[in-house]
Assembly symmetry: C2
Homo-oligomer: 146 residues x 2
Amino acid sequence: MTPIELALEEARAAAARGEVPVGAVVTDAAGAVLARAGNEVEARHDASAHAELLALRAAAARRGSKFLADCTLTVTLEPCPMCAQAASFFRLRRVAFGAYDPKGGGVEHGARVLAAPSCHHRPEVVGGLRESDCAALLRGFFAARR
Amino acid sequence: MTPIELALEEARAAAARGEVPVGAVVTDAAGAVLARAGNEVEARHDASAHAELLALRAAAARRGSKFLADCTLTVTLEPCPMCAQAASFFRLRRVAFGAYDPKGGGVEHGARVLAAPSCHHRPEVVGGLRESDCAALLRGFFAARR
């Protein structure tokens, strides 16, 4: 499976747990998976337990390094400002995401934290991977809750 | 001790561990301390282990709640975009900080994440508490490392 497919798998598992369906995977330069996670905001009672932050922390813990300079974060939804800034702090090489998020995103929308002149490290950014699948998963989740 | 004094104590303890000296405290509406933390980026090998995020997570874990709507985060340095967005996600009532951070701050500087139209919850913000003490601690730390 490709990283975005793994991330989609994590997002589906998150939905099954009643979490907003977002999943994330951290891969190294060779494409090996260092960490994968889904949203755990509800399970952990932690508003910061986004899939991206969990996957980044797990990858860094596995490496025993605070930086992940050769790594790619692949996530089903455009990261929010918190997670985008975290991607910069971990000095990621690349952030790849699925669905764009005009309301909550912080990369291509909103605060655009990676574009701020004060942002010291800007990972390469690619959006739109498996966009319709990633977006459909979120739409279906919220439609079912209304 | 006031919250900013407790935060300064955490910042000094962080410096003693070789961490960038930033400390944070979460207090409830009555002023009781729910959690306190200093930077642990080096100790945890985690670029996201900022004092604010650690204190917020610990406070929410103690409450068993993903929201901290009656709470104040008091921190010695203007929060970065990651921590500012986290403060919004936890729906804090108030963010109070010591030194302003023109280079890395994300509240009054840089991406100003809480001012973005897409920011759903904007805590009240107060800056400049014990500003010179908070700034001197940081300056001293970096001067000693040069």
